[in-house]
Each structure stands twice: as structure tokens, then as C-alpha cells.
């Protein structure tokens, strides 16, 4: 057996890489998290977390503790060491829980979160600010658990794996400060955090596609053919129903009536794109076209539906698949702008 595939696999995980794609991901994700949190959490802070808010802290109950989650808005529970220092029945934990009911306390933590996200975006004390951005993202999302969507989950995961990367090695305030002090800045960084992030995105698409073809068959189907015929994606009506969904469509379907034939093509194209992504992204020749198709796919979702920041967050992850020269070009353009 040839050793070449093993060598390539080893190189995939260990050969240092240009940090530009990671830096681009860090900046795009930081900006998106900032805007998403500002418009989706900050703008509703008083309504959701204020006095008599829509999501009372007491409604959390023991759910975070029972499921291993943590929420710095209501106490130290679930955070190793912190939890040991401040036991749940102690004075500090009790005061912390009481503060969690106050709008000003939540507003202060929100401001800290935004400062951390901006710090991460510009690459200032990158690892520390990324840890803070991730911990507060988890905390706010635990606190607002009935109001999260896939976009929130995706940026939380992105922040987590960014903690382990050298995302501040280039295009960052940290790199600029190091150069000013005459210290060397790394030209190449370990690849494994970026590989984990890439694999995560591949799995997002693969399992979205699997969920679409594996479920949703009518239980009263007379035969296999009948089940397939009535399945939203196989019969191509999925996009039609989505565009008609009066809880989330951007405009009423009658104002932008996409013909059923086009809906069918878009439904089938969604399956091909999601199930094909893991394989087509591996091949260098198909990768740019796949990413361009993906951008179109997510812009379409963004224009047609109001599902928060799901599409912009997804598009940030594409930075992890672009060539270093392309990432550098985008960053130079961003810097000029």
C-alpha cells in the first residue's frame, strides 16, 4: 500500500498554513456576531431581560445545571473552578442570581460581550477576547434559550474553535504591536484548528442534506412510491412552502410569486448542493464554483426569509476554504475601505 495518502493526511493536519484565511474568518465572524448581537439581543435587551421581561431568569430553573450548560448572567454554576469558589447556596452566588434579574447588570455584561467581540475582530489580545466572546455568547444564548436559531449555534461553535487557533497571528492589532516592538510575527500557523472548523462546516451541510432526505415522509403513505411522491424535497415543493410560510417570509408570496417549476429546481438544487458539498469542496477545480454557488444559496435565503443572521454567519465560514492569496486580497481591500 502506498504511503502517499497517509503522508497527505498527516500534512493536512500538521503542515503549518498561511494565517490569512483564519484572519479573514476571525474578522468576518467578529463583525457578524457584533451586528447580530446588537440587532438581535441588544436592541431587545429591555424587552427580553428587563424588569418583567419576556424571558424571566427564573424560567431557566435547573435546566442549565442539569444539562451541563453555564450562564454567567445568572451565576457561576457550570463553570469549573468558579463554581467551586462560589457554591450555589453561598452569598456570592445568591447575589449574582439576584443581579441577573436586573437590566443594568445584563446591559453591562452585554457591553463587555460586545467589547470582547470587537477586540477579537481587530485582533487585540486575540485569544483572551475570543474566550470572553465565546463565554458570553454561550451565556446569553443559554439565558435566551427559547429564542436561538442555527445562526447562533454556528457562531458559538466558530468562536470556540477560534480560541485554539492562532487567528491573531496576522491582520491583527497583536501582530502590529509585535512588529512595533521588533518581535517576530509567525508567517505560518498550526493548521488543526482550521481543519476542525472546515470539517464542522462540511458536516453542517452534509447532515442538513441527510435530514432533508431521511425524514419528512408521510406516515399514512400507501407505498414507498407514494411516500417519495409526497415528500417535500423529492416532489420539489419545499421551496414553495418555505416562500409561503407567513411566519418568516420576507414578503408575501403573491408579491414575488416564484413559478412552481423554479421552486422545484431550487428544492432539488438544495439537495444536490448540501449533499454534494463535502465531496465537491475536496476538489480544487470545483471548490470556487461550489463556494460561489453557496454564496448565491445563502443570499437567496437571506432575501427570501427572515431567519436572523443565519445566512451571513454561514457565509463567514467560506473564508476558511479560500486560498491564502484570495484571503489576503480581500483583507487588503477591506483595509483600504
Amino acid at each position: 500500500m502506498s504511503a502517499a495518502p497517509v503522508r497527505r493526511l498527516w500534512a493536512f493536519w500538521t503542515e503549518p498554513i498561511d494565517p490569512a484565511p483564519l484572519a479573514l474568518f476571525r474578522i468576518l465572524l467578529g463583525l457578524t456576531v457584533f451586528l447580530s448581537a446588537l440587532t438581535g439581543v441588544g436592541a431587545r435587551l429591555a424587552l427580553d431581560l428587563g424588569a418583567d421581561g419576556l424571558v424571566p431568569a427564573a424560567a431557566l430553573g435547573s435546566w442549565p445545571r442539569d444539562t451541563g450548560r453555564f450562564c454567567l448572567l445568572v451565576g457561576p454554576g457550570g463553570v469549573p473552578l468558579l463554581e467551586d469558589c462560589f457554591p450555589p447556596d453561598g452569598a456570592v452566588a445568591r447575589t449574582w442570581a439576584e443581579l441577573g434579574e436586573r437590566l443594568w447588570f445584563n446591559a453591562v455584561l452585554f457591553a463587555v460581550w460586545m467589547a470582547a467581540v470587537l477586540g477579537m475582530t481587530v485582533g487585540l489580545w486575540t485569544r483572551t477576547t475570543t474566550v470572553a466572546a465565546w463565554a458570553l455568547a454561550c451565556s446569553f444564548q443559554t439565558r435566551l434559550w427559547p429564542m436561538n436559531n442555527g445562526g447562533d449555534a454556528l457562531y458559538r461553535i466558530g468562536l470556540f474553535y477560534l480560541i485554539f487557533s492562532r487567528a491573531g497571528a496576522a491582520w491583527s492589532a497583536d501582530a502590529w504591536l509585535r512588529r512595533r516592538r521588533g518581535l517576530p510575527t509567525p508567517e505560518r500557523v498550526p493548521p488543526w484548528p482550521m481543519r476542525l472548523l472546515q470539517i464542522q462546516l462540511v458536516l453542517v451541510y452534509l447532515f442538513s442534506g441527510v435530514a432533508k432526505v431521511a425524514g419528512g415522509y408521510p406516515e399514512d403513505a400507501a407505498s414507498v412510491w407514494d411516500a417519495v411522491r409526497r415528500h417535500d424535497y423529492w416532489n420539489g415543493t419545499a421551496v414553495y412552502w418555505l416562500l409561503n410560510d407567513a411566519t418568516l417570509n420576507r414578503v408575501p408570496y403573491r408579491l414575488a410569486p416564484v413559478p412552481l417549476a423554479v421552486c422545484r429546481l431550487l428544492s432539488w438544487a438544495t439537495l444536490v448542493f448540501e449533499l454534494g458539498f463535502p465531496w465537491l469542496v475536496l476538489w480544487r477545480r470545483t471548490r470556487p464554483w461550489l463556494l460561489l454557488g453557496g454564496l448565491g444559496f445563502h443570499l437567496g435565503i437571506l432575501l427570501a426569509t427572515e431567519v436572523g443572521w443565519f445566512s451571513p454567519v454561514m457565509m463567514c465560514w467560506y473564508a476558511l476554504f479560500v486560498r491564502p492569496s484570495t484571503a489576503t486580497g480581500i483583507l487588503q481591500r477591506l483595509a483600504r475601505w
Partner: protein
Amino acid sequence: MRRDAAVFLFVCWNLVFLALRNPLDLGSEAWERWASRRWWWPGWNAADRATRRYATTCGLEQGWSMFSPPLWRSASFPLAGLEFDDGSADVVRSPNDLPPNSPYLRVGGWRQRKLEDEYIVNQARFDRYRRTNASDLLLWQAYVRYAVRRWRAAHPDDPRRVIAVRLLRRHIDFPQPDEPPTHFTEAEPELIGVFEPDGRPR
């Protein structure tokens, strides 16, 4: 060397985590029924628990099922029916409840939709939490007070006093592909629960 070993273990663990958690989080009941009778089920269950804990603690939950079939054929919106001390009544609609045949442009409000869609109009959840007196019931109570506040803000000089709130579910069916795009059908709103104006369920 020690650092390399730690990185190696961390990467391996995360690969195992991603490989296990993604199929597990699809949450197929048919699969669970089938697998629970197999000899390897206890081991699988242990892996499920370990990876679930890691996912929830680090915020790495998977479960990618956005726009999975069956897509919704209908929409439900909460509707608060306020009853006043003079015997009159009024309703407060959800801010996300835009008349489907009006020329709207929806921007924002998706967090409100998530709360209303997955909790407020979910009768099964409401009944379960009410039966068990779970802390989640506070969400419905807060929603009722929010509806009363919204009515009061819209009618600051109205002397009537709210004496009860009937939380209803408004249900509309979307037009079939062969029907005109304006053909939305609406059923009579269904009662979710009756509350005091301060949110306590009656």
C-alpha cells in the same frame, strides 16, 4: 512533545465528537427504536451521554435540520383576548402576525417568532409544564403580562381594567400550489389557556 500529545488527543476527541454527535442529533425515533434492541446500545448510550455533555458545556450542539421536511403548511400566531371589568373585550395580536394578504416587508422579529412558535403557541408544551408546574410556565405568564402592557401602551387613557386574558392560537393554512396565492384559510382561534392579568394561570 507533551503539547503535541495534548493537541493530538484534542483533535481526535473532537473528530469522534463530531462523527457521533451529528447523526445522534438528527434525533430519529425510528433509529432509536431499532438501535435500542442491539447489543452495542449501552456503549452507544454512554458515548451519547459523554458527547452530549461536551456539546452543551462548550456550546457545540449539532443537530442541523433547518428547513427539514415536512415544511409547514400552516402558521400559528398567539392572540391575547383581553376581558375588561365592564364586560367588553379586545385582542392583542403578535407583532410578528402580519396579515398574509397585506403588502408587508418583514425585517427583524425572528427571536420573537422563535419564542412564539416553539413555546407560546405550543399547546403540548403548555399543558405539560402546567401539569408539572415547571419553571418554563413563567414564559407564558410573562407573555400574558407583555400583551397587557402592549394594550395599555396603545390605550393609555382607557379607564377599563383588564380582568382576564384568554391566550389563543390563531391558525392559518397556506394556499396549495394549485390555488391562488391569496387563498389563505383561517380557522376559529383555539384556546391555549386563561390567565389573570398578572399572568397567573386560572
